[in-house]
Symmetry: C2
Subunit: 514 residues, 2 copies
């Protein structure tokens, strides 16, 4: 077998089942190997940012890495923004980037570039294979690196001759490195702080915002009255009726300051103290009160769930958690369609087990509010601030969870970055309903323009935030990529179209004109 | 004035007139400054790869840099692929990337990343401003660096506080660094080689493939019989009736070997010896005959035009060049629409002064052939192999040359990478006619799959090259972004639609089903 086949066999043996791909000439042997090996599903994307974002969505839901297949430095470049988001999400991804044959690099052909240099800012692990004989073991190492807690981007650069030359055999999977155990001292310190009767919050991120971790946190809250919070950009939160509810840290710095102002103690589980997303003239970047004590119960690479359970035991917390979300569906709205009424519709119809991929930005408030009591679901958000993540993440989540309805809530500005996702959804017949909130502007920037103190913006400045000229027609764009689409201009229209989408399967787009 | 205003005033004073922009919060002061300063036209793109590719197209035609305005590491990342192409093209670009305020970086907020690290692989010059007091002089240095021959990407990283804090004054423009003069020894060596009566070719790239350089090359050919060639990926070639015609080096390695096989002497003007684009098992990467002598008349940063003129004088070449292309328009075809007949239509109707942005890949042959005798025009091609350059380059070329018709010839696979270009064309009412050759596949990869020796590709491999499922509807996609569009399925339909597009102004798209 050649190197490519040895690599694909190794990846499959390591549990990598999906390859989000946009290949070129230098990856043709990898592509050919997909037919020689059972167990690797190739998913084609028409742009690499779709492939990497889909690998993020897949990894968050499957809790194991997919691989990508990207074409040299430029292919990697196109995928970098969503790899940045994946890095911030702590998502395991085996990022395979083809390269020129080892002996061809010296010629500086047009596509040659510093691939490792481009990969480093987003990758915890970067390696370029040096021979077809070792590419299989390099692949096993990449999977191990990607799977290290909480999840990392591992970039494996694959020179074309390491793919086409003869290899020996696939490599054995390497053992998965378990998350580091939290010391009993860390648990004791947190327990002591919680017993002291001060105003305390648990701030969580990572695997702890799933049912088991949340349950332990809810028990601690039941015993101590601690507030339960998650990061503004907690990558995946299990929520809805019957689960322990947590408050998400708000977005703007002054909101965070207000949210935390009464705290005496902040216990961090898999995260760090919240800071302002951007700096603003005259406003603080640091948002935790100066008088608030900060304790790290668990770092992101540590076993936060185990730490929370140990903490609950140390506190002799009751079995039943506090803060369980009650089942509560909003009534259907009528009249004007806006973020609020759209959220009521989403909350009214969201099916059990849904996965929400949320990049609705200024339009997300209503949906977050009105799905709090919906049947249990997963909520995935933009993690690294690089817009254009929601559509690909929805795509990958749907590949990971074919039996669950995926609902993608997206702003129109961000959706234009990776709209090619819709084609992959149509091709793979993925069960994704995309709602585009068409406010025809970079709405967040209209807020930010004032907040950063840019005074009296003139027509040129305002035109840089405005998407009215010309107006995007999302129904045409979706149909152009094979996705059925409709436009809703009232709450009633949106309710009817969203209800239909929840009842049927397959990709669907609704342009919600707000 | 604040730092942003001092920078914009400096850029304008240095001759930078256009800003291809996709800003975010950290760039709001730069955006606001656009209204305080006359002379900088902001052009909004809905994806950064459009902005950087447009800056490339602009720079190739305007022969001076535009600036970009990108949003931190992720915005830069999205623009990197076309900056890679611009680097290969030798295009001057002042690449402005916003960053967090200097004091905010320590907090590692979600959007923080290693911007300089991401910029280095594509940039000849990278600098991050340290104070509002020096950002203006940094801007002047960036313009000087970008303008160094043959043209470079200069990345200026702009922390938000260097934009919003008080500055002193704009900086004075720095003198442009002229291309290095070629030594008389280099001219003498080339003259001696050309006088020796051996089979000699001039291989050209850069400014020499414009009228003046070509004219000097044609005089040398008239005197010596030397063949005139340009690089496969010569970024801009002036061609058509009345201009000196050159042969473009073919794409595939074995074609190049055949093309060069009789040569005794290769004289390089602004380029290096041609190599295979990719490596292929058992095929050579180096394409020049081992027995062929290689002389460098001019390096890319040197004055190739001056060198060719000095060489013509040294050879006592006649005033009249050889190899002048005669005026010749093809007849209109009928029947089947394919690359060949489409090329006949383009050659039949191409107006004088047109700019062709050519990323038609496997579909470009006919157009290249049948425009050889059309009225004089510019031919811009994909330079770095990163597909998705043609639409943005056309966009930028149209901004640079508002009185000239831009014709963008593009494969459907590549066009999906940066289709957002169409929205900018509609918004700016640019006179671009886009022809999408819809073969519904990554056609080049079907050829490459066999060439790299990937044997008996199976259904999964072949599906990775196929865009039929679902079929893209380019008419819907274009209309979704405000561009009038039609579909042509026969040569007659294409002729009628293309003729109409050449007669009218404004953006227009034709899906040529081949």
């Amino acid at each position: 077998m050649n190197g490519a086949e040895s690599l694909v066999r190794t990846l499959v043996a390591c549990g990598v089942e999906v390859c989000f791909s946009n290949p070129g000439t230098s990856e043709m042997h990898f592509v050919a190997a997909l037919d020689k090996v059972e167990g690797m599903r190739p998913v084609l994307a028409l742009f690499e940012g779709v492939a990497t974002g889909a690998a993020d969505g897949y990894g968050r839901m499957a809790e194991k890495p997919a691989c990508t297949l990207l074409h040299l430095g430029p292919g990697l470049s196109n995928g970098l923004a969503n790899l940045h988001n994946a890095r911030r999400a702590g998502t395991p991804i085996v990022n395979v980037v083809g390269d020129h044959a080892t002996y061809h690099l010296q010629y500086d052909a047009p596509l040659a570039s510093d691939i490792a240099g481009l990969a480093r800012p987003v990758s915890a692990w970067v390696h370029s294979s040096t021979s077809a004989k070792v590419v299989a073991s390099d692949g096993a190492r990449a999977v191990q690196a990607a799977s290290a807690a909480p999840g990392q981007v591992a970039t494996l650069i694959l020179p074309a001759d390491t793919a086409w030359l003869e290899a020996d055999a696939p490599a054995q999977p390497l053992p998965r490195i378990a998350p580091a155990a939290v010391s009993s001292e860390a648990v004791d310190i947190a327990a002591k702080a919680l017993r002291a009767g001060k105003k305390t919050a648990l701030l969580m991120r990572g695997h702890v915002t799933r049912e088991r971790g949340l349950r332990a946190a809810g028990r601690i809250a039941a015993k101590t009255g601690a507030r339960l919070m998650c990061d503004t950009f907690a990558p995946r939160v299990e929520r809805g009726a019957g689960l322990v509810a947590v408050d998400r840290i708000p977005y703007f710095a002054e909101q965070i300051v207000d949210f935390l102002k009464d705290l005496d103690v902040l216990v961090l589980v898999g995260t760090k103290p919240p800071v302002s997303f951007f700096a603003y003239p005259g406003k603080p970047s640091w948002c935790t009160p100066e008088t608030c004590a900060i304790h790290y119960l668990a770092q992101p690479h540590e076993d936060g769930v185990g730490a929370l359970e140990a903490l609950a035991e140390a506190l002799s917390a009751p079995r039943e958690p506090a803060s369980i979300a009650p089942f509560q569906r909003p009534e259907l709205p009528s009249g004007k369609l806006n973020s609020y009424t759209a959220g009521q519709v989403v909350g009214h119809y969201l099916p059990e087990g849904a996965i929400i991929s949320d990049e609705a930005a200024t339009s997300s408030g209503g949906s977050v509010l009105f799905t709090a009591g919906a049947p249990r679901h997963d909520h995935l958000v933009l993690t690294g601030g690089s817009i254009g993540q929601g559509l690909p993440v929805a795509t990958g989540a749907a590949v990971a969870c074919p039996d669950r309805k995926v609902v993608c809530l997206h702003g129109d500005g961000g959706a234009m970055y990776t709209l090619q996702s819709l084609w992959t959804q149509a091709r793979e017949k993925l069960d994704v309903t995309t709602v585009i909130f068409a406010n025809k502007s970079y709405a967040i920037l209209n807020i930010e323009l004032a907040r950063v103190g840019a005074e009296n913006p003139g027509p040129r400045a305002l035109s840089m935030l405005d998407l009215h000229n010309p107006e995007l027609d999302w129904v045409s764009l979706a149909r152009g990529m094979g996705v059925e689409a409709t436009r809703a201009e009232t709450a009633e229209e949106f309710a009817e179209q969203f209800a239909n989408a929840m009842k049927s399967r397959g990709p669907r787009l609704i342009e919600a004109v707000i």
